[in-house]
Amino acid sequence: MTIADVLNIGVITIFTIQIALGLLIIFGVMKVINMAHGEFFMLGAYTMVVTTSLGINPWLGILLACALLAGFGMLVERLMIRPIYGRADLSSLLVTFGLSIVLQQTVRLVFGPQSLSVPNPVQGTVDVLGTAYPAYRLIAAGIALAMTIGLALLLFRSVFGIRLRATISNTEVAAALGTNTALVGNLTFGLGAGLAGLAGALMAPFVGVVSTMGLDQTVRSFLVVITGGLGSLSGTVGGGVLIGGGQSAMGIWFGGTVAQVAVLILAMLVMLLRPRGLFVRKGRSF
């Protein structure tokens, strides 16, 4: 394993965690299983395709992708999730399933089925322990890491975070104590979608941008959240290291198929043996 491999694994791990955290807070607050989460990621990447072709500064484009997706997430919550909120079945899963089809096909219709590329905003490489590594990847991963830490601070060091965690642990009581849980839900959906969109925009320059790119992210985020434990922020970080890092490390040694199968089987075993997640201590949630 070369130094470049190690750095790649690190970069992928950070993005895996960021995307999965978006899924986690949406599930935690709304109990919505968001099957369209990967499509938010995909839309973030396509925002970069549009902004760079319009000649907009790429950093502004990344910011724009995050903001647009956050707004879009809030709109989706208002129009599609709120009407079925509290329906005991898994309608939210179905609706977001449908949304993912619609978003994929719309993008395919507008941009075509082929894979597009986004120009790299930062050319050149950085010397890391004697290995030349693309500078942009390090910057992108740094931004993603900063956002993840920012999210943790928001959740654990702000009033909004207290209200959000209160809503997660008991929506009725939180509402009775004066938290506008509908608003928290709306903002959370926007926050989760914004995180996914930001990850998509940041990753666009070094992955192929194609309408079906979201599915992989959705599946992987689910595996991360399940392995880490539904409803645990630190668990999701652990799950991200295990799933994102583990899969890319095994991919280097044994090839992509073995890595994918191993990760899937690991997730199945965790669900069977430790359904609360690998990193959740008894009696604690979030």
């Binding site: 309608s91 899937l264 089987i265």
Partner: protein, 352 residues
């Protein structure tokens, strides 16, 4: 028949007549293959309806058993065809899928992996199968797919054998199997077993109090549904002539959910008809229009889930047409068919 209601039987009768006459009216092999494949997908939709509509089990990968059926039949019958080979391949394909599904359901439910956990278990399982199908090139043909060059054959070897070796004959075989399995599934859900399934869907505790094991019923219906899906896969393989790893794909499983939700969960006939119509429509289009078609399907699916939780099958009743007696009413609390709550949702929306 109490299982699926009188109106549903009338509709299915009319559709059956249309399906019987179709190859005679339109003797076009391509169209016959499209509709035949649609009917096969209809069986797959019924399989998910048994699980999800009647039993409330969220299996995110209904296409898993379908794919196992298609691959097993293709691989085995390519080795040995004729009536013995056909019978052997069918029995192995169906029992393999049923055993796997029962095993997965058993270990999942026993360790408490229900609801969303079970959904993700099935999702992971189908993705594992997809990866395996992609790499075991010798057995499955890899990502190019497995070419199936045999046809189902029945009879006694050397005495009288009949091979369903034209699209039209295969179409009629499929139609017969669809009619039989629809009857079988309708009988199953209206039987004592089916009643317990509905009880399991509503409440584990209460079912247990009455002396029935929710676990045993869930495992059994998982096996039944898997057998039905595998049978659909078995018929799919010779009809299309090729099986590729996308049969295990999430995309196909998502579509099965669309058919069941649009057709009406818990009605059997609704999902069947929705599957035939939606897949036939899609197959006649290509390129941008196919994309647009999927887009429209997706929008329709969202609207149905939001505003018509009983699916299109509940539309006549919602509009006040038809009888609303207890016998023609779909299950009161099917995952998507809760009329009262649906009314509230629609009402709330108008009020905004």
């Amino acid at each position: 028949m109490r299982g699926i209601g009188r109106g549903a039987w009338f509709v299915s009768g009319a559709v059956l007549v249309m399906a019987l006459l179709f190859p005679a009216v339109m003797p076009d092999a391509y169209l016959i293959i499209i509709v035949g494949t649609g009917l096969v997908f209809g069986m797959l939709a019924m399989s998910l309806d048994l699980l999800w509509g009647y039993s409330g089990i969220l299996n995110l990968a209904p296409a898993l058993s379908f794919g196992i059926g298609a691959y097993t039949w293709g691989i085995l019958s390519n080795e040995a065809d004729g009536s013995v080979g056909t019978l052997y391949a069918v029995v192995v394909a169906v029992s393999l899928a049923a055993l796997l599904a029962a095993g997965l359901a058993f270990v999942s439910f026993r360790s408490g992996a229900t609801g969303i956990y079970f959904a993700l278990m099935t999702l992971a399982a189908t993705l594992v199968c997809q990866q395996i199908a992609q790499v075991s090139t010798d057995l499955t043909g890899g990502s190019n797919g497995l070419v199936v060059f045999t046809w189902p054959t029945f009879g006694i070897p050397g005495v009288a054998e009949f091979s369903f070796d034209t699209p039209t004959s295969l179409y009629y075989l499929i139609l017969a199997v669809v009619a039989l399995t629809l009857g079988g599934a309708a009988w199953l859900v209206s039987s004592r077993f089916g009643t317990v399934l509905k009880a399991v869907r509503e409440s584990d505790q209460r079912t247990e109090t009455l002396g029935y094991s929710p676990m045993r019923h869930r495992v059994l219906i998982s096996a039944c549904a898997a057998a039905l899906a595998a049978l659909a896969g078995v018929l799919y393989a010779p009809m299309t002539g090729i099986v590729d790893p996308s049969v295990f794909g999430v995309a196909l499983s998502v579509q099965v959910f669309v058919w069941v939700a649009v057709g009406g969960a818990g009605t059997l006939v609704g999902p069947l008809i929705a599957a035939v119509l939606l897949t036939s429509g899609q197959a006649t289009l290509s390129g941008a229009s196919a994309t647009l078609y999927l887009l429209v399907t997706g929008v329709g699916f969202i609207l149905v889930v939001l505003f018509l939780p009983g699916g299109l099958a509940s539309l006549p009743r919602r509009l006040g047409l038809g009888r609303t007696g207890a016998h023609s009413r779909p299950p009161s609390k099917a995952p998507t068919a809760d009329a009262d709550r649906a009314e509230t949702v629609v009402g709330a929306d108008h009020g905004q």
